[in-house]
Symmetry: C2
Subunit: 226 residues, 2 copies
């Protein structure tokens, strides 16, 4: 069976991506990061999802992005709230942007893919209901893929090429949720909030909570996690 | 003063690159990695170089590439010896290649550059006296730079662009050493061996030792570190 590396945060999007990769027949190797984020709840969620969905292997890489600073997700800056209601979600780059995070995540995935002999790397980026992050756009993903094929053995030996797979990139949050429900994803396992309480209760007001709420409302089903 | 991030291993090449960046008037922020390599001697060397040459800041990121495996530099595979004498240095990708290493290193440098507001990232890759690593070629560097400018704030705000600076890329080892000597680099501080003894004595036989030895011989000066 062919192998794929899936970047898995344990959130709604990456969990759906993992289900899509499995539905295509891949043996999935899921990769998560402890990167200095303010809470470890997403690491618990990613382990839960990897186990429940049958990942072949699940790795958590420890990387301390907080030593660079520059983001509300890895420092003590405040996470902005109620931006969705003010129609500000897509206006400019918010402080929850973590500099070069997707590039770092994809680079580690590339290393693992090369060692495993996997050609496919899945990432749940989304250019529709997104929060204004530059590293979620299709032109960024295409540039990363091109670079990846020059960076590795794929580029010099005429070997099979690396593919960066972004099955959610043009879907709305509601379409993502519908797709996941079709594939049998149990969204109760997943976690989306940028700023949960110490016990893991979602704040309900950050961009991520707001987009999730709106998505489930559009689909017309109850969020099993809310 | 303008800022630059310099990837610094404490080896001959990256130390020369740091001297070049400083000669261009940059405030240098040097970045090293503890990545599961078999010895920490290069980390000691990089701290020594950063201090001696006056880096504004020096960060060591801990990333455990050994959990992926796939390289003699991060596992217990044997480091090949006497390849240079057999004229095998440039034949194919050797086991000392660490999958996607330069991509991972440059990605972290990109994150730091974005937080610092630095446009310039220096890396000591070299396409002449190289060991057959795909991520040392000019076309790889160009692709990374293009991706970097789409990944970050540089790409969406019409801001100043990120530049990946590779001043050694077309130089022979002898030319690199000459350049460094002109700039006053003390090569006694630097370290090059892939497989040193526990006390830090170079093996003298790996690709890295062989290229360094040949370089100093061509310049006609004694290697102060040998």
């Amino acid at each position: 069976m062919k192998k794929a590396v899936v970047l898995l945060s344990g959130g709604l999007d990456s969990t759906t991506v993992m289900a899509i990769a499995m539905s295509e027949g891949f043996n999935v190797y899921s990769l998560s990061f402890s990167y200095g984020q303010r809470h470890s709840i997403e690491l618990d969620a990613s382990k839960r999802v990897a186990n429940a969905m049958g990942a072949r292997d699940h790795l958590v890489m420890n990387i301390d992005l907080s030593s660079f600073g520059g983001s509300a997700l890895t420092s003590d800056m405040d996470v902005p709230k109620q931006r969705a209601e003010q129609d500000m979600v897509a206006s400019g780059i918010p402080v929850t942007y973590v500099p070069a995070r997707n590039t770092i995540f994809l680079s580690f995935a590339l290393a693992w893919a090369e060692v495993l002999g996997a050609q496919d790397i899945f990432i749940g980026v989304n250019a529709v209901d997104y929060s204004g992050y530059p590293d979620c756009r299709p032109e960024y993903v295409a540039a990363f893929e091109k670079m990846a094929n020059l960076a590795t053995k794929a580029g010099v030996e005429g070997a099979e090429k690396i593919r960066i797979r972004t099955p959610l990139i043009n879907l709305t949050k509601a379409e993502i949720i519908k797709k996941g429900i079709e594939l049998g994803v149990d969204y109760a396992m997943t976690h989306s909030c940028y700023d949960p309480s110490p016990k893991g209760v979602a704040c309900g007001e950050c961009d991520s909570c707001a987009l999730r709420k709106k998505g489930f409302e559009e689909v017309g089903v109850k969020d099993p996690w809310a």
